[in-house]
């Protein structure tokens, strides 16, 4: 069963003359540990799709299922809880709280979820260690490079074993090497079982995904998967 499923979603903004069909009958299934990139020109519906996936917006028709549960059937309290426990978000900037250290930022969602501060901090440090950021755990965001900030933001978004990570242009302002480090980390989280949906206009970054979905005028225009299948990236050693 896919962890995230969007079923024939349609999202219409405005009404009558001002009616805009942002998404028109779009379906998307994302399996556990799968990495899907969404590409398309401005106004093609990329961000709308991501907002539906993360329960930030509701479809005009169609369904969004998270771990098999239709988000529309959940009470507001259930929805909040389901999203907080299962879905992490990363955006282009302003992801971290400037007055908390990297580790405190990562620990915060766990504390909000009722985990004791000491245990939350220990999980946060463990996660930072596993993503190669233990050395900067005690720094405040202002003392981190742009690439480090985004990787800490990703750690915060997946801490506590969240099943889905939604990323909207997380590499926007980064240089090539830092952007690749972010993509490497996303890839690593997929290998650890997290499903990732990445919205980007950058083909080089989309190419890290198992599948690339092209949106055009609110519809799925095409899909591209690598010739050898998605599992290649996870295999050690040279592929030839």
């Amino acid at each position: 069963m896919p962890i995230l499923e969007i079923e024939r979603a349609r999202r219409i903004f405005g009404s009558r003359e001002a009616r805009v069909v942002a998404l028109d009958d779009v379906s998307l299934r994302v399996g556990q540990g799968e990495f899907v990139a969404i590409m398309g020109p401005s106004g093609s519906g990329k961000s709308t799709l991501l907002h539906l996936a993360g329960g930030l917006d509701r479809p005009t028709s169609g369904r969004v299922l998270l771990d098999g549960r239709d988000l529309a059937t959940l009470s507001p309290a259930e929805l909040t809880l389901a999203l907080r426990r299962q879905v992490g978000f990363v955006f282009q900037g302003l992801n971290l709280l400037p007055t908390l250290t990297a580790a405190e930022n990562v620990a915060l969602p766990l504390e909000l979820d009722g985990v004791r501060p000491k245990a939350a901090m220990s999980s946060a440090l463990g996660l930072l260690e596993s993503v190669g950021l233990r050395a900067v755990a005690d720094r405040f965001p202002g003392r981190l490079s742009g690439g480090e900030r985004q990787r800490v933001a990703i750690a915060r978004a997946v801490v506590g074993g969240r099943a889905v990570l939604l990323a909207d242009e997380p590499t926007g302002a980064l240089d090539t090497i830092s952007g690749e480090a972010v993509m490497n980390l996303l890839r690593q989280r997929c290998a650890a079982g997290c499903a990732v949906v990445l919205v980007t206009h950058d083909m080089r970054h989309a190419a890290w995904a198992d599948r690339v979905v092209f949106l055009r005028d609110g519809r799925v225009a095409d899909e591209a998967a690598p010739p050898g299948g998605p599992e290649l990236l996870l295999q050690p050693g040279r592929v030839s």
């Binding site: 401005s42 990329k46 890839r187 080089r204 998967a225 010739p227 592929v239 030839s240």
Partner: protein, 199 residues
């Protein structure tokens, strides 16, 4: 591409046997550029003929190659000269798109999108090789894969631009009541701005 200059650079570090040069060359360039031993000896013979290397015979009767002063100058000149780009690369795709516009049986947008998906697939493939190259610390191979990534990206961006230009041209033709029978006007093509790529 210059095996000749690469060998000179290797010899600049000290005299070597032909086989040693082959091994060093391949160690430096990884899988990017396999050499056969014959190619190495042919190149060395030409370098010797041109006075860029000299040879001696060692105790085992093997030839040892050493760089000459002229060879050092040639190696420096190589680093000082930018690699030439092809002046007019053959662009089958550009030609195909122009003809697709003239043809009643082709949908230009489909041609562009098919190409975009193909480009994306090759980009995905190269990206996977890159992840491995990085893990293996294979620098020459990694640099070469980086070049392929940027070439594919350039093609994709160029496709976006083609699509915008063609859409505009087709729109103008419809306004004029034409059906794709005329050549795109040069002024219409040349004055098109690069479309926004931001989200």
């Amino acid at each position: 591409m210059s095996v000749r200059h690469s060998l000179l650079v290797l010899l600049d570090a000290g005299p070597m046997h032909g086989y040693g040069l082959k091994t060093e060359f391949e160690a430096a360039t990884g899988d990017v550029w396999p050499l056969n031993v014959g190619q190495v000896y042919t190149t060395l013979a030409r370098l010797e003929r041109d006075g860029l290397v000299s040879t001696e015979t060692d105790a085992d009767g093997q030839k040892v190659y050493a760089i000459t002063e002229a060879g050092r100058r040639e190696a420096r000149r190589w680093f000082e000269t930018p690699v030439a780009r092809e002046v007019v690369p053959r662009q089958e795709l550009a030609i195909k798109l122009v003809f697709a516009m003239r043809s009643a049986s082709a949908d230009v947008a489909d041609v562009v999108q098919r190409q975009r998906v193909a480009t994306m697939r090759s980009l995905q493939e190269v990206t996977r090789l890159k992840a491995d190259a990085e893990a293996d610390g294979d620098l020459a191979w990694l640099l070469m894969l980086d070049a392929l990534v940027f070439q594919a990206e350039a093609e994709a961006r160029w496709l976006d631009l083609c699509e915008a230009r063609l859409a505009r041209e087709l729109g103008e033709r419809e306004e004029r009541g034409e059906r794709g029978a005329t050549r795109p006007r040069a002024d219409a093509v040349a004055s098109q701005p690069i479309p926004e790529r931001s989200n």
